[in-house]
Amino acid sequence: MAVITKKSKPQMSFPPFSVFKKVFSLWISVAVCLSFTSCENKQVEKKANPVFALNTVFEQKLWGSDDKVFSDNVLLLKEYEAVFSHTFSSSEVYGLNQAGEGEISDKLKKLIIASLKASEDTNGAFDFTYGQLFDLWDFEKGIKPTETEIAEALSQGGCEKPTLSENSISLNGTKLNFGGIAKGAAVGEMLKNYVDSSVKGGVISCSSAVGVCGSKPDGSLFKIGIRHPEKTNEHLALLEITDCLISTSGDYERFFTDEDGEKYHHIIDTKTGYPVKTDIRSVTIVADITGKDDLFTLGAYTDALSTALFSMGMTEDTFRLLDEYSMEAVFVTDTAVFVTDGLYDSITVTSSHTLKKAVG
């Protein structure tokens, strides 16, 4: 408005020009004010530094809240790494696997209880007690274990073996591996922190699990791309959703190809000891968080079920499990995308795959 007060030098310009000047400066002022207000109304997207934990990278972004929740979640990941990691030699699980028995923390107990339920419910299609078997396969170095090694490791696992009472556990020869469940639990608990700190919208993601809540500043839903199994930096379908936890298991995530050209992916069948043989390339599980309080366990279940249903395929048991857990699923094969009823209206196929309804 300072320009308008220039009236103090009237002798310098002709009356028509001063009118023009007033109008002009008024418009400029209005424009400047408007651009300021539009900046204030725009909810700024806040992104946290990625955190490496549990053999993956966690990323966070949110709108419409202070970002204190970021540092809470970073601390949470550090804690989970120190409890659940089976590779980190100072972690609680690592120590327990070495000792074979002992007292455990409440956090570990909670994940063990969820893991046991998922293992039993899926009839071992997800099983976290085959630590020795999972350790044999090295997908980074491309090491294929021998048949003898696999046979021995198979005899050591089994979710019926560990005995848990109160906070003490005896592994009875098994070794625990939370690679197929801890990431989902972590994303779940992090999303719970988002919901509790009432963010307007937020996304938490790691390599195989995502949590979303609220909406984007323009009110739209989140777009979650399901990776194309062949062209892995492209999506083959988009889910437009919010307020849910999502987990994916796919044969393209970690794998190696041996000298004969045979591909070995990271989802190991605990019945055979070899990668699961299936036509399915990936399974995505979606769980609604509305009205749910224990997102740690819900996230754990979505993660475990994505592994289990990858092995089980689209069978009667699969649809019974989805029903029991009130979850939706997307199954990807080489040519088609199969979607359960509840997600059918939220999905758009962006590749040459055919969209089909997944029915039992």
Partner: protein, 125 residues
């Protein structure tokens, strides 16, 4: 003496306002900044470089090789690689939209792009 229609102060005032408006227009696009996408043999990781306050080194292990990257607000640079050909290091610092460096032995593709999203997708799972 001829009276000037536009005084020096007018020009300065208009210039200041114009610069202010222009800078306001340019501000959001500047905030968008660069995003780096590191694809290590199919494992994809994206890093929003605008969030990087202090430059840091990142090790990428892929296909039996090890790359050391320098991640900073300005861009991504491959500092070291243990592969034989070292072609990727010739790409220099990736600091412009769609610049790309590829290490074939390690099967690593590094790309930087402006904006948060390529096609409005929040996460690729």
């Amino acid at each position: 003496m001829k009276r000037s229609l536009v005084t020096k102060t007018d020009i300065i005032a208009v210039a200041v306002i114009l610069i202010l408006c222009l800078s306001l227009l340019l501000l959001p696009s500047k905030n968008d900044g660069l995003t780096a996408e590191i694809n290590a043999d199919g494992r994809i990781q994206t890093i929003s470089l605008t969030q990087v306050t202090d430059p840091y080194e990142m090790t990428v292990e892929s296909n039996g090789h090890r790359l050391i990257l320098n991640i900073s607000r300005e861009g991504v640079e491959i500092k070291k690689t243990d592969c034989e050909d070292k072609i990727c290091m010739a790409s220099g610092k990736l600091d412009r939209n769609n610049e790309c460096a590829v290490c074939l032995p390690a099967r690593v593709i590094i790309r930087v792009y402006t904006g948060e999203n390529k096609d409005g997708v929040d996460v690729l799972l």
